[in-house]
Symmetry: C2
Subunit: 249 residues, 2 copies
């Protein structure tokens, strides 16, 4: 392993995305190509809500770790984007609109009580990572946003074309993300290039992005295992009641 | 110890302020009554800067711990108040204006390299407390803001009356705090009343406020020991160079 220049470091980060980002996951392909049932789309929206509502918590941890007001101000915008400025505003509220738009009950979604245990483990691992690893790694783990415009385009176009229960209003969450994600990724990428000055730091940054790709992937694995493989929905999880399995309190 | 109703809990919190808030500290009395030299005022401003610039870091940790967007939004305003919306804006920048207004070099202040070790320990203890204790305790520890309008009034009036090197522009930091602190205290007090529902939780909240009063007090203790007691400025701290003591790199 050698010290990479800025160009090589960015190329190495993009290479991780090209191999490990969850746009390559079979569940994503099912979702955007119309291969999911309505219940599978619902399970995706319900589980993903837990990820969405954890994002500002991990971003606040990062804000709290920056030593300078300028970086805190820049990262603070993410809190505004996700939590909004008023009730019903912001990314979490827009994800809830998506979830209710595909037919879920808002209270069930917001309670997070019917998500898969693996969803919880993966998302909580992200929050812990950001709290416990170096600030450089915490920042680098956000760099999946470099890859998100592609997956968003595929997802929005595919879902609108293939599901009659999905319309533009349901997917309004993604509109804002198309400009927020590149802006956020630019700041984070610049931070990583500036602060990863040794081989060890560069490898740590690359490892952080790989970690993040893995945890996005694991969330789709969990959905696939529970909702595509027949008979595998855990008791207490979404739809288990409809299938007459025992439901945890 | 018994379960307190809302009125009794608030009274118990205010009682802690009445006994332990740093407006009772001899250094505060010196400061606002004109009993400090210019160098002592500078030492206060320099050391307090470390507290000021740590505040948004601890507030971001609290934002990251709230499970709901509404509380995060409310607490996020503190990040805006301290970090501002642009360079030169916000409470930290206004404290820097105070520090340079009393004759300090901005670079020296911002580096935090000349603060007293005890200042650092006390402030860092606050950030650790907020990270490690319960969310209720983290919120309760902010309740010294219930008492700050009084100390601000004493400080501003006293410093303007007693020091010819202090003017209104220097003390502009305190203008905003006079309305921010009560707003923040209202939210936090309401949160504590709502969430401290057992004897143990109420005692934890009271303990958290006592902890916070103690750490504000300890910061003035450190200033008093170093800058009022003759011959006690540690090597490497502000003014030690002027007094020909060895200065740490």
């Amino acid at each position: 392993m050698k010290l990479l220049n800025d160009h090589e470091l960015e190329a190495a980060l993009r290479e991780i995305g090209a191999k490990h980002y969850h746009n390559l996951h079979p569940f994503h392909k099912m979702l955007h190509s119309g291969g999911c049932t309505r219940e599978q789309v619902q399970a995706w929206a319900l589980n993903r809500y837990y990820y969405q509502c954890s994002i500002p918590r991990k971003d606040a941890l990062i804000v709290g770790r920056f030593p300078d007001a300028e970086s805190r101000r820049a990262w603070r915008q993410r809190l505004v984007d996700h939590d909004g400025d008023a009730p019903g505003d912001g990314g979490i509220a827009r994800w809830l609109r998506l979830a209710t738009g595909v037919g879920l009950d808002a209270e069930l979604v917001e309670s997070c009580r019917a998500i898969l245990p693996i969803t919880r483990y993966a998302v909580d691992a992200y929050v812990s990572f950001v709290r416990e690893r170096s600030l450089l790694e915490a920042v680098a783990s956000s760099l999946t946003e470099m890859f998100s415009p592609t997956i968003i385009s595929e997802r929005v176009a595919g879902m609108l074309a293939n599901y009659d229960f999905v319309d533009r209003d349901t997917l309004v969450y993604f509109n804002a993300r198309l400009h927020q994600a590149p802006r956020d990724a630019d700041f984070a990428l610049n931070y990583v290039k500036t602060h990863a000055r040794t081989v060890e730091q560069q490898q740590a940054a690359l490892g952080a992005l790989r970690f993040k790709c893995d945890l996005l992937w694991a969330q789709l694995d969990a959905l696939y295992m529970a909702y595509v493989t027949p008979g595998m929905i855990p008791a207490g999880a979404f739809l288990s009641e409809a299938l007459s399995l025992p439901v945890a309190a």
